[in-house]
C-alpha cells in the first residue's frame, strides 16, 4: 500500500526529501559518535574539536527537517501512514540532534581529559559501549528506511546491553576513585561520558519506538527490561 505512489507525485518527492534529510543526519551522527570515541581513546584533541565543530551541521539539518515537516503538513494535510511518517521524522530528527550533542560533549571532555593521567582499562570499555550504540543506531535507521518492525524490536531490546555496560563502568569508576582520590576529576568526566553514551542508547530506543509506531500505528508498551540500576540500586555503590 505504501509502495504505491501518491496521485500527486510531488507529495512523494516531499516525503522522500525529508526522509533523505534524516538519513543524512543519521550518517553525520554515526560519524560524530565514532570520531568522538576514537578521539577520547587516542587522546586526539584535534579530532575532538572537529566533532564539536561538525555538530553545527547536525543542528542545521534538524532545523531543516522541522521546516520541511511544517511545510508538508501545511501544503499536503497528510493523513494516516503519511501523517505518522512526518510525525516520526520530526521526533527522530530530535533524537539524532540530542545524540549529536552528546557526541559533541564527548569531544569537549576529550580536551580536558587529555591533560590528565589516563585511567587504565576504561578507554577500551567506553569504546566498546560507543561501538555498540553506533551499531544500534545504524540498525535503527535501517529499520526506519525498510519499515522493518522485527529489526526495530530487536534493536530496542539491545539497549539492555548498553545499560549493563554502563552499570559495570559506574562500578569501575567508583573503584578507581576510592583507590586514589587523584583519579576523581578524570573519573567524574569519564562517568559523564559513560552516562551520555547510555543516554544515546535511550535515544536509539526512542527511534525504534517511532519505527514501531510508524509501521503499526501504535506506540509499543513499556515492557522493555530496564537495566540501568544505578539510580535505584544502592548496592551498586558498595565495592
Amino acid at each position: 500500500m505504501m509502495d504505491q505512489g501518491h496521485i500527486a507525485s510531488a507529495f512523494d518527492r516531499d516525503l522522500d526529501a525529508v526522509q533523505a534529510l534524516i538519513m543524512k543526519m543519521g550518517g553525520l551522527v554515526e560519524t560524530a559518535i565514532s570520531d568522538a570515541a576514537r578521539a577520547l581513546e587516542m587522546r586526539d584533541t584535534e579530532l575532538g574539536e572537529q566533532v564539536r565543530q561538525n555538530d553545527k551541521l547536525i543542528d542545521e539539518l534538524e532545523e531543516q527537517v522541522a521546516s520541511e515537516v511544517a511545510r508538508v503538513i501545511a501544503m499536503r494535510s497528510p493523513a494516516a501512514g503519511d501523517l505518522r511518517t512526518v510525525l516520526s521524522v520530526l521526533k527522530i530528527s530530535g533524537n539524532l540532534e540530542r545524540m549529536g550533542d552528546y557526541a559533541k560533549n564527548l569531544g569537549k571532555r576529550t580536551a580536558v581529559l587529555s591533560e590528565m593521567p589516563a585511567i587504565t582499562g576504561t578507554g577500551g570499555a567506553l569504546r566498546r559501549m560507543t561501538q555498540l550504540v553506533n551499531l544500534m543506531l545504524k540498525d535503527a535507521l535501517d529499520a526506519y528506511i525498510q519499515r522493518d518492525l522485527e529489526l526495530a524490536i530487536n534493536v530496542r531490546q539491545r539497549d539492555a546491553d548498553v545499560d549493563q555496560m554502563y552499570n559495570a563502568l559506574f562500578r569501575e569508576f567508583l573503584t578507581h576513585m576510592m583507590e586514589d582520590p587523584r583519579n576523581i576529576t578524570a573519573c567524574m568526566h569519564l562517568h559523564f561520558i559513560a552516562k551520555n553514551v547510555e543516554r544515546m542508547g535511550d535515544h536509539v530506543t526512542s527511534i525504534c519506538e517511532q519505527v514501531i509506531y510508524l509501521v503499526t500505528g501504535e506506540m509499543p508498551d513499556e515492557d522493555r527490561t530496564k537495566t540501568d540500576r544505578t539510580s535505584t540500586d544502592s548496592t551498586l555503590g558498595k565495592v
Binding site: 500500500m1 505504501m2 500527486a8 493523513a79 501523517l83
Partner: protein, 254 residues
C-alpha cells in the same frame, strides 16, 4: 457510554437495472452524531444515502433489498408513507436549491403541508426557530418576504438546511452540502453541522476528506459498492485498518 443506534442497515443491496451499485452493506448510525460517508465517485455513497429516505423510489429501475431500520422500524415496509418518512429524514443537496419563493415560504412550506402549525403565529414561530437553528436568522430576519434565490450561495444552503429542519426531522441527510460553497460559507455550514448534532442525527456525504475529518464522529469508507471500513473518524484518519482506506485517504487511489 455506548450511543443509541438511530439507523441500522443490514445487508443492503441496490441495483440500477443490471448494475449492482451497493453490495451487502451493513452500517449502524448513531443517534445525535455526525456520520460521514467518503469514497471515490461512483462508489455508492450517495446511492446509499438516498436509500435512507427512499429518494431512490423515484428512479424506476432502482431496486433496494435488505433492511434499513429507523429506530427499529423497517422504512421499506408497506405501511410506511415515503412522504411522511422524508419529513422525519430530511435532506440537503449539493447545490443550494431554494424554492422560487420568499425566504419565509421556503421554510413554511414543509410544516404547512405536513400540518405542523395550527395557525399563523405557530407557523411564524417554526420559521423563526428553524432559521435560528440554521444560523441564518440574523441575516434574513428583515427580509423574510424577499426571494430565497436572492441570497448568496452559502446563505441559500443554510436556508435549505433551515427548510429541512422545519419539519422537525430526526435525521438530516446531506449530500455534499458544501461543494458549491466558498471556504467561509463552508466553515459556517460545518459549524452549523456541529451544532445540529445536539438535536439531530446527521449523515453527510463528502468528497472533502478534511471535511469528513472535521465534522464527523464516525466515517464509512465506500469503495466499489462495498463499505470497506467503518469506524471512529479519528481512527480512520490516523490509523485505518484496511489498506484500501489508507490508500484513499492519503491520495493514492481515486
Amino acid at each position: 457510554m455506548s450511543k443509541n443506534i438511530k439507523i441500522s442497515a443490514k445487508n443492503v443491496d441496490v441495483f440500477y437495472g443490471d448494475t449492482h451499485a451497493i453490495k451487502g452493506v451493513d452500517v449502524e448510525i448513531e443517534d445525535k452524531s455526525v456520520t460521514a460517508f467518503i469514497g471515490p465517485s461512483g462508489c455508492g455513497k450517495s446511492t446509499f444515502l438516498r436509500c435512507i429516505n427512499r429518494m431512490n423510489d423515484t428512479i424506476d429501475i432502482c431496486r433496494v433489498t435488505g433492511d434499513i431500520l429507523l429506530e427499529g422500524e423497517d422504512i421499506y415496509a408497506k405501511s410506511i408513507d415515503p412522504v411522511q418518512l422524508r419529513a422525519r429524514v430530511g435532506m440537503v443537496f449539493q447545490k443550494p436549491n431554494p424554492f422560487p419563493k420568499s425566504i419565509y415560504d421556503n421554510v413554511a412550506y414543509g410544516p404547512t403541508i405536513h400540518g405542523l402549525a395550527k395557525n399563523k403565529a405557530e407557523l411564524d414561530e417554526i420559521v423563526e426557530q428553524s432559521l435560528r437553528r440554521a444560523a441564518i436568522w440574523d441575516e434574513v430576519k428583515d427580509r423574510l418576504h424577499q426571494p430565497g434565490t436572492g441570497l448568496s450561495g452559502g446563505q441559500q444552503q443554510r436556508l435549505c438546511i433551515g427548510r429541512a429542519i422545519a419539519t422537525a426531522p430526526e435525521v438530516l441527510l446531506m449530500d455534499e452540502p458544501c461543494s458549491a460553497l466558498d471556504p467561509i460559507a463552508t466553515a459556517q455550514v460545518e459549524e452549523l453541522i456541529d451544532e445540529l448534532r445536539a438535536s439531530y442525527t446527521v449523515v453527510i456525504v463528502t468528497h472533502s476528506m478534511q471535511q469528513a475529518a472535521r465534522v464527523s464522529q464516525k466515517t464509512a469508507f465506500f469503495h466499489l459498492g462495498n463499505v470497506v471500513e467503518y469506524g471512529d473518524t479519528d481512527k480512520i484518519f490516523t490509523n485505518p485498518e484496511d489498506s484500501r482506506t489508507e490508500s484513499y485517504i492519503t491520495g493514492r487511489i481515486g
